[in-house]
């Protein structure tokens, strides 16, 4: 219990530490200055931080007794007794019933079919979205890096092999491949959960980044500084990971940031297709999936659909704004 609460705190601390440490490097210090100058980017960063803090608060929880399932901070603050059924945002009565009932609480985003507060469900989706966004990236990036750098640096048959692998992988329709991987894992007795989805998304989404890394490595391989390092007797591994890799870092970080938003969208789509996050776990994909029939009701139940899609939209938009700004801030070619 104690340990599982420590994990999110440690992760946040490590990320903060890395960001502060990076600020001391001239390249990143300059990038920070440029980022913070832009008001739009600042707004994006603040909103991203809000989402992240919701996710962190939703990861810290405890239970009063052993038999009880642990309640996170978000559960304790925002969870409300379920109403009987639908109610519109800020409404005082339920809707769609022959006899309308008074609501026990005020629901700013209304309630869904079983009377759950939509705002609370939306908050619960944050953690899922961010875990899938980042963990997937964490799985796909090392793959892309390793294969991309090997292919770019050694060329010849290594390059042929890696290119062949990712071209084939890229030729399989991605949704089918994802379904296949998830099914395969399920058949091996692993229940579908967030980690399984991240693995499936991770091993299918490294191709784009791998292409980029391969191309960049190819470019750097024949640079003078690499030639000079070779003339000094530096080994292949050291040249790749201690000389070339730092030069790829800016472009990697930017691509990874933009990739997170792609993963978040992928989660919603997969869940909507019923092959993503299982129904028990709160996610925006699940909310959208549950809401699709309700749009056809008379009068339309639009709020739970809107809340989930807006949450996706806002978070992804912030990531994209941030990623683009990061690219501009780091790319030396755009510097005056």
């Amino acid at each position: 219990m104690f340990l599982s609460n420590l994990i999110p705190i440690v992760i946040v601390a490590v990320i903060a530490g890395v960001l502060i440490r990076a600020g001391r490097e001239p390249l990143w210090a300059e990038a920070y200055r440029r980022l913070f100058k832009d008001r739009q980017v600042m707004v994006a960063i603040v909103i991203m931080m809000l989402f992240v803090s919701v996710a962190v608060l939703d990861s810290i929880g405890w239970s009063k007794s052993k038999s009880e399932t642990p309640q996170t901070i978000i559960d304790r603050v925002f969870k409300m007794e379920p109403e009987r059924t639908y109610s519109a945002p800020m409404a005082t009565e339920t809707m769609g019933e022959p006899h309308l009932h008074k609501l026990k609480h005020k629901h700013i985003f209304g309630t869904d079919g079983v009377g759950n507060d939509v705002f609370y469900l939306t908050l619960k989706g944050c953690r899922t979205a961010l875990i899938i966004g980042f963990l997937t990236q964490l799985i796909s990036m090392p793959l892309a890096l390793l294969f991309g750098m090997l292919a770019g640096y050694f060329g010849k048959f290594v390059d042929d092999f890696v290119q062949y692998v990712y071209t084939v992988l890229d030729s399989i329709p991605s949704v089918l491949l994802l379904i296949a991987i998830l099914m395969a894992m399920e058949m091996r007795g692993q229940e579908r959960g967030l980690v399984q989805i991240c693995i499936a998304l991770g091993v299918t989404s490294w191709v784009g980044l791998c292409r980029l890394v391969r191309g960049e490595t190819l470019k750097h391989r024949d640079r003078d500084y690499v030639r000079a390092a070779r003339a000094l007797g530096v080994s292949h591994g050291r040249i790749m990971f201690r000389h070339i890799l730092p030069n790829l870092l800016p472009i990697l970080i930017i691509t990874a940031t933009l990739g997170v938003s792609g993963n978040i969208i992928a989660e919603t789509i997969l869940t909507y297709l019923q092959i993503g996050v299982p129904p028990g776990i709160g996610s925006w994909g699940n909310m959208i999936d549950a809401a699709r029939m309700e749009l056809a009701r008379q009068p339309a139940v639009w709020w739970n659909f809107t809340a989930a899609s807006s949450a996706v939209l806002i978070l992804v938009l912030c990531f994209n704004i941030f990623g683009d700004a990061l690219r501009d801030a780091v790319d030396p070619r755009l510097r005056s």
């Binding site: 003078d224 500084y225 030639r227 000079a228 070779r230 000094l232 007797g233 201690r242």
Partner: protein, 341 residues
């Protein structure tokens, strides 16, 4: 026989290009004595840089490959070495500095890190000791405030400073041979003189040999003990610096000297070598210099001149000096000195 550190024998480095192999280095032989400086002179595209890279087996892959010959370093043929054995040699026994100090340092790493790495990869020094030695060597190459330079990034240094850092890095493991590939070409004249003086000083201090690759005869006169003149992938003439400057023998060398502006020839037109070096895929069948040579006759077009025997006093690759060539026209024979004013 003098104490030979490095000896090249008939080294051939080819490139695979469309239209057959480009014979960038085609049978080069020379030797570098211990503690001495050999300069390789020639114009762009004559294969002098590739010769330097071939010694360390750093010819750009996959197009380039060493086709044959021997690179004898302290009596052992480096071409028989594995990649890992070569890695031990590079930077430790044979170091190399390049023409472009602006781009030869890793832009994302501080100078100190790069200097320390040069020692750590060969295990000559570690940690604090390596840092101390790095600072010493920065001070030795004439950089003021070595502790500040250690923490600086390459872009914070000027070209001359960077070349000094490169030299410090190359010399940090006390190599026996320094290959300097146009070390001063990218620098301005005052800095050039400083860098050359520095290399010479360090050479006297450490007793290393220097293989200086350059196209600048002025630099040759200043620092080298002997010279190998390269043309079209071959050494056409080699001699001690003194002999070469006193009496250049090969028509190409003569042409090079004649095209240097001189105070004693004030008012006269500068002589130029007509034409350019032919591409490496299409060297002429006979003498490679024949299309541009003032003395060429029929035989030159048909027969390639042989390299002089190893023990020759002044090896020259030219029919003019080959005793086996009998049909030499009287006008151009022997009296080659006439092209010189």
């Amino acid at each position: 026989m003098a104490d030979v550190l490095l000896q090249l024998e008939d080294l051939k480095t080819y490139f695979t290009v469309d239209g057959g192999p480009a014979r960038a280095v085609d049978g080069v032989s020379f030797s570098v004595e211990r503690g001495k400086t050999l300069a390789i002179v020639g114009e762009s595209g004559c294969g002098k840089s590739m010769t330097g890279l071939s010694i360390l087996q750093l010819v750009p892959e996959p197009a380039g490959y060493i086709d044959g010959g021997k690179v004898l370093f302290e009596g052992k043929d480096l071409l028989d070495f594995t990649w890992e054995q070569m890695r031990e040699i590079r930077g430790k026994d044979i170091a190399m500095i390049f023409q472009e100090p602006m781009t030869s340092l890793n832009p994302t790493r501080v100078i100190g890190w790069q200097l320390v790495e040069a020692m750590e990869v060969h295990g000559t020094a570690h940690g604090a000791e390596a840092r101390k030695r790095a600072m010493d060597s920065l001070a030795r190459v004439g950089l003021t405030g070595p502790d500040i330079v250690m923490r600086q990034y390459p872009h914070e240094l000027s070209g001359g400073m960077r070349q000094r850092v490169m030299i410090a890095m190359a010399l940090s493991n006390r190599p026996k041979l320094l290959i300097a590939d146009e070390p001063t070409t990218a620098l301005d004249v005052t800095v050039q003189a400083q860098i050359l003086a520095l290399i010479r000083e360090l050479q006297q201090e450490t007793g290393m040999s220097v293989l200086l690759i350059t196209h600048d005869l002025g630099i040759v006169a200043e620092v080298s003990d002997s010279v190998a003149v390269m043309y079209a992938g071959q050494v056409v003439e080699s001699a001690s610096t003194l002999d070469l400057f006193k009496s250049p023998m090969h028509p190409y060398t003569q042409g090079l000297f004649a095209s240097i502006p001189s105070r004693s020839r004030r008012g006269q037109d500068l002589l130029t070598l007509e034409g350019i070096v032919p591409p490496a895929t299409a060297w002429p069948e006979g003498c490679r210099f024949e299309p541009r040579c003032r003395h060429a006759w029929g035989t030159c077009k048909a027969v390639a001149p042989k390299a002089s025997p190893k023990d020759a006093d002044r090896p020259v690759r030219c029919h003019l000096y080959d005793p086996d060539i009998k049909d030499r026209p009287a006008t151009s024979a022997a009296s080659t000195a006439e092209v010189l004013p």
